[in-house]
Symmetry: C2
Subunit: 175 residues, 2 copies
DNA sequence: GCGCAAAAGTTGACCAAGTCAACCATTTAT
DNA sequence: ATAAATGGTTGACTTGGTCAACTTTTGCGC
């Protein structure tokens, strides 16, 4: 039986408060951009799935798998990954469409499945967002010397592994 | 000049995504309670400031300091600490009042300064929230052996220090 | 004392984020 | 053929949170 986990829990609470504040600061940059945090995530998710063979079962899925048609994520994929309401997704995607960031074409095999892809503008918008975020992170760690930077890198990776080694019910693969 | 910080930035982004998800999971517990995250924070902040000598200048402040009257935080203190809109605070406090979690009495020295304090019910409510949160954290780290737990504790503290050693503009004391 | 600026708080209007339930179109299964 | 599931859309609604205007109290210069 584990001993005094209360120390760890306390440290976790403390870190939580700290990191929540930090995330808040970092998010401000995004907030000041034209897009919401969620919208940024959707954009990111769209870019992260450049191609994706239709996974639906049956003949259509079979054809999709064999001939590798119907690439790209659909709204439902994004909704699933980000745990968002379909209605919400619809609105976000409409906004993106209106802004010319994405294109939606009907899937060849399933016409009611709208396959999404980023346009040039979409990629550019995402790149701008990521640049801004990276700049923030760089600034945040500017005060560290090389050794500390390396240590922090190690620490972050290690913390992630320790924390995701938790009970299976809590585990969610990310990155 | 610092070398390839891009590795660190990448690790940070990764950790950010991971931890955001984790926080989301942990927050769910609170979300399912009767209170908002923000409300919980306000409650916490109220408890964290059991007494606090009025810091306003002038005769009133002087008397407050000498005779230690007018204890407890006011709405503005909470608003300042948590960076919340006064209007928002008002509504939250009214909700708390209605639920019998807090009492507000006019400050002896400044009658328009409403001095707040948790009632028994308020303390109980906070305790319940914290218990739930602690249970989540305990469950989250249940899979770790003692050695790993100790390591994680160290790591969290160290990470906090490394990250808050950033440029002064980013620094915000917490805990 | 008077007048005025600042602080503390309240109110009402408002907005954006997010949820819910109903609904249509398409597709798969029986 | 028909039922059921999937993918998506719409409209109404709730909620978290902001903004601006206003009141009251206090502090300060005169």
């Amino acid at each position: 039986m584990p001993a005094n986990r209360s120390a760890l829990v306390s440290d976790l609470r403390c870190f939580n408060r700290f990191y929540t504040g930090l995330i808040g600061l970092l998010d401000e940059t995004l907030t000041h951009s034209a897009y919401t945090l969620i919208e940024a995530r959707v954009l990111f998710e769209l870019a992260r799935r450049p191609g994706h063979i239709a996974s639906s079962p049956g003949k259509a899925g079979f054809l999709a798998r064999v001939f590798q048609i119907d690439f790209g994520p659909a709204a439902s994929n994004i909704a699933g990954e980000l745990q968002l309401d379909p209605a919400y997704i619809t609105r976000i995607l409409r906004k993106f469409s209106a802004a010319g960031l994405i294109e939606a074409r009907a899937g060849r095999d399933a016409s009611h499945r709208r396959v999404l892809s980023l346009t040039m503008r979409g990629h550019a918008a995402l790149a701008a967002l990521q640049d801004a975020a990276d700049r923030d992170l760089t600034r945040l760690t500017a005060g560290l010397d090389d050794e500390e930077a390396a240590e922090l890198s190690d620490i972050l990776v290690r913390a992630r592994h320790l924390l995701s080694g938790a009970p299976a019910s809590e585990r969610r693969e990310r990155a």
